[in-house]
Subunit: 635 residues, 2 copies
């Protein structure tokens, strides 16, 4: 079992010169950690380390042997001396287990320095390896809790990573003759996305979501009780993005004994924690208990390994994972698996938006190799074409402007993650340009916290937005046009005021949450307006309003009353985080190289089938639309 | 776990009248065994037993309590007294474990008596339950060995059946929400047929074959190393017919610890034992060891439960199996599974011949229900139409006649099981009708033994043939036109003789066996003729001869020599045991009711795809041609 590990160790020892003063080599999950008694090496001979990493195709981390660590107080002085004051350090703490000094800063770029020089200088002078975290400009409780949990869990985490390091590098037992994919959820439907990929040597889950609209466990959760799936043999969970239909069932895996890693981007980890906690809270409030609890959400955090876009990572003896931008929500990714040393390459798009937005980048379209692919089809029907983002923005501004002129209030029900922030950026710009006057924008519910998480990860936002934030120093999210609403007193005040205003509130489909409360107060006055910017599912209150119902019965003060709908109702398509039909087809057109086989998922049956048959007819690529519980051969 | 069993026991106790003198109720595999102290009950009140069986929908066997068994010598006297001498009893023995008297007879019908009266009289007078076996008119070593093995293994077998009885009646754990089928072998190919059917409560294998032409374990054996398959959870193995591409890997399952049942017809059990033994012998001779041994073949016999056509049998908490005639070889069956109390009905055709032959019956076409089906496509290509059996026979007789006239010898290379017997019947008839004179027919190799097994199971042959055997007393297989060849001396003699003759010898494609030896002796003389009546696979010697090669290099006396082919070469299509394209389509046309979904297997990729698309276009039934290792949802 240790052959592969010994081999790598031998390679490293042979390669590194005497002066490295190698103390030991350890495997922490996918990374190789080299402990040295000469911390200068990393600063003065970074080229050696980079050449070694390239040679063995592994990520290498340099840490100091305990014997050469400076005392913490002295280290704090050194750090403050080395790092420019502009970096605005908010906290310095130490991790005895990993020999890291954790530096939280408002401008982490200045702690890293050009090409990492500042960071390496800290290592050289103190022996401690800097772990540099951004202090978000808007405080996020979620991120605070996550960072605290990881600090406290440091020792267990190191043990976990070392065990995992060995597991990843176990000898493969069989030839890589085949690759199979079992659809455990989210096929010919939207919700509970779950893909189970198997090779003769590895087993991997991609996404593990819930269908929040599911009526019982058979419709809400993925089919994990198939005979080929068992938690003991699972090598990895890969998460493409934070939405609950992709992450809501991950804590269940840990609850029932999974003790392996979950791979995702850092924003996905943070946002998924927020959404999982919220899901538990709501389920608790509604007395519909989930088959796991808050401990399992924490366990998920502690077992998550975050990856950057483009970072190639060994996750099993025969699979290398790389995440790439998907443009769907912050941190959203496509997962590329290189299987059996490149013998088969698999791409899972997750949810993706094939159009530049203000908030996010665009999905990757060029790969070294792809043999098979699974893609989403949420808007895959032939009728699913939406206006461009530009048109949508113009409609939005015009509608808001009109209502402001009449002295009315505007309610925009939104999903907390993604669409809310996209709308915020548009509003901020048009208000700043003086087009909408000084209208105040109120953010109610989870939107504020979700926005805070966005501000902690500007590197995952669009280039345009990064430029604005880093160079112009104008972070739209921290603009004073936005006001946080947290209690009923504030809600009452803003509703009683005669001033026009814009209210962004969850839930996005008026299926609960404060958006319904606002609606009840605003709906009978024809001066006001409600603007739908997202999909309203059949049966939701949002859909009934959209359809033009005159009145709806709603509960108020414990009794059901009839509310007359006089509010102006506007629907604006084009803000979706999903590619429309044209964009889906365009993605396949531009994709290079073309896969041999495309499986279509994450869409109603007829949309999935329609998209699959169009792709086949247009590009002559074999397509499939498996049912849940089916297994398809990829290789 | 015992709830269901207790329930059935209670039902039985409640139902049976006092006079039954119930001693105990036991579950032996799918059967319920009632022990009584009043053996008369079965004879005098058979109606009660039949009504009970109908009520609880289970098979019931009546046995006597030990206390009422007559001593064996006395029993032998009684049996001889009760059974008419015409029955020609050849052996009487006793099974202490099952309280059965085993009576072997040349006319078992006379031991059973009209409506079973004679048999019940034996039970009444002796207490022993008669188990009546046919003494085959041609002695079969295979059958002798099987019967002996079962006798010796009686105690272990009863324990096995009792354990199985409980397992079959365990409480189902989950709702029957789905039925899935994983293709483990024999999809888009011929060879190593293996279907793995799963419900939330049960796991069943249908056929478990090898590809004898496979070059290594990856091409020769089914894919049993998929994660959903494990021997511990397997409820049953169902075998449709004896050919090695359907049975060759069953002993492997037992070798690696499977200890559940194998279900098939009695001729299939006997014939599969012969073929498995032969396969081991050949592999041993060629020094290509198989991953199991002769012990595992015996274990297969001991764990086999034989079923008659049409006999409905519980094989797991949610699956009932019924075998129906497939017309392919003796004992060949289609397997019908009633799943979840009729919620889903699945038909697996196995190999089938949709045409009346002399030897066998025709496949069943009317079912109570079928929702999904897997069918073979060996000759599913649009070009795969063959002459009728009638035309083929005429061609055969004409070819043989011509050669006899010239004083030549006729070599017919055949597969030992099925085609050989079909040809034998034709020859016997035409010789008896004086059309071919008194030409002797020599049977070499396994053909004789395979024919003996046919004679042990006349109930599994065509109605016409049964009539001939039972009523006219003219068994064509025992005709003196046939001569058994077992040694080189005999071979030399018949070849040296100047007399014309017909030689039936294995292998059927001249890939080894004595047919090659005969060919070497006969091929250079233009008076002789070789007649191919079966498929010659690419690369085989048979195929090269068919193609008209002038000469072939073959080994003789240890050196390779060039043999000139002057022998007349004739190919006669139409004797195949597989349905041709027209017959496959016709089967689907007449099938009632029509399934919602048809999966096509057991055919080269293009034939499977061609048949599937024709069925879809003609009958508008959804078709699929899965790859090996894929899982398809049936429900
Ligand atoms: Zn999403
Ligand atoms: Zn989604
Ligand atoms: Zn979505
Ligand atoms: Zn066959
Ligand atoms: Zn076959």
């Amino acid at each position: 079992m240790t052959n592969m590990i010994d081999e790598i160790k031998d390679q490293i020892i042979e390669y590194l010169p005497e002066k490295v003063k190698l103390a030991k080599v350890e495997f922490e999950g996918p990374e190789i950690v080299i402990y040295t008694k000469n911390p200068e090496i990393n600063k003065d001979h970074g080229d050696i380390i980079r050449a070694l990493a390239k040679k063995i195709r592994k990520r290498i981390i340099i840490r100091s042997d305990k014997s050469v660590l400076s005392p913490p107080p002295e280290t704090i002085d050194k750090v403050e001396e080395i790092v420019p004051t502009d970096a605005d350090i908010t906290d310095i703490s130490f991790d005895d287990v990993t020999h890291e000094v954790i530096i939280e800063s408002r401008k982490p770029g200045l702690v890293i320095g050009k090409y990492g020089t500042t960071s390496r200088e800290i290592l050289k002078q103190t022996g401690w390896t800097p772990k540099i975290l951004r202090t978000p400009p808007i405080n996020s409780e979620t991120i605070q809790r996550i960072r605290l949990s990881l600090k406290r869990n440091s020792k267990e985490r190191k043990e976990f990573l070392q065990k995992l390091g060995k597991r990843i590098r176990r000898e493969p037992m069989f030839d890589n003759d085949w690759v199979r994919l079992t659809s455990l959820g989210g096929f010919r439907e939207v919700g509970r996305s779950c893909l189970f990929l198997q090779t003769p040597n590895s087993k991997v889950i991609l996404d593990c979501g819930v269908n929040v609209a599911g009526i019982d466990e058979k419709t809400a959760y993925p089919f994990l009780n198939v005979p080929e799936f068992n938690l003991q043999d699972l090598d990895a969970v890969i998460i493409t993005h934070a939405h609950l239909d992709h992450t809501g069932f991950v804590p269940y895996l840990y609850h029932y004994g999974y003790d392996g890693p979950t791979y995702c981007t850092t924003p996905t980890r943070d946002m998924m924690t927020l959404l999982q906690q919220d899901h538990l809270d709501i389920s608790h409030r509604e007395d519909k208990p989930l088959p796991f609890n808050i401990k399992d959400v924490k366990e998920t955090i502690n077992k998550t390994i975050t990856l950057d876009y483009g970072q190639v990572t060994d996750i099993s003896p025969d699979i290398r994972l790389t995440l790439h931008d998907a443009g769907h929500i912050v941190g959203s990714a496509m997962a590329h698996l290189n299987i059996g040393d490149g013998k088969h390459n698999f791409l899972y798009t997750g949810d993706f938006k094939n159009e530049q937005s203000r908030l996010l980048g665009t999905p990757k379209q060029h790969f070294a190799r792809i043999e098979s692919m699974v893609m989403e089809s949420t808007y895959g029907g032939r009728e699913d074409n939406t206006p461009t983002r530009n048109t949508a923005e113009k409609e939005l501004v015009k509608a808001i402007y009109d209502t402001i002129q009449k002295g009315g209030k505007i309610l925009i029900p939104v999903f907390a993650v993604g669409r809310a922030q996209e709308i915020m950026i548009v509003l901020e710009e048009f208000i700043n340009r003086g087009i909408l006057g000084k209208v105040p924008v109120y953010l109610d519910g989870m939107i504020w916290e979700a926005t805070a998480i966005h501000t902690a990860h500007p590197e995952f936002l669009s280039n345009e937005l990064q430029k604005q934030i880093f160079h112009a120093g104008e972070n739209p999210f921290t603009s004073d046009v936005f006001n946080k609403v947290t209690n009923n007193e504030q809600r009452r005040k803003l509703l009683e005021s005669n001033e026009p205003c814009v209210i962004l509130s969850t839930s996005g489909m008026l299926t609960g949450g404060n958006s319904v409360e606002y609606f009840k107060e605003l709906c009978e006055d024809e001066k006001n307006r409600i603007i739908f910017v997202g999909y309203q599912s059949e049966g939701s209150l949002g859909r009934r309003i959209q359809k033009g119902f005159d009145e709806v019965p709603l509960e108020k003060d414990g009794v059901t009353q009839l509310f007359h709908i006089n509010i102006e109702v506007t629907t604006i398509d084009g803000f979706s985080g999903h590619s429309d039909r044209k964009q889906l087809m365009e993605y396949v057109r531009k994709l290079s190289p073309k896969p041999d086989k495309i499986l279509v998922c994450h869409g109603d049956a007829y949309k999935a089938l329609d998209l699959a048959s169009s792709i086949y007819r247009t590009y002559k690529i074999e397509t499939k639309t498996p049912l849940n519980l089916e297994t398809t051969r990829l290789q």
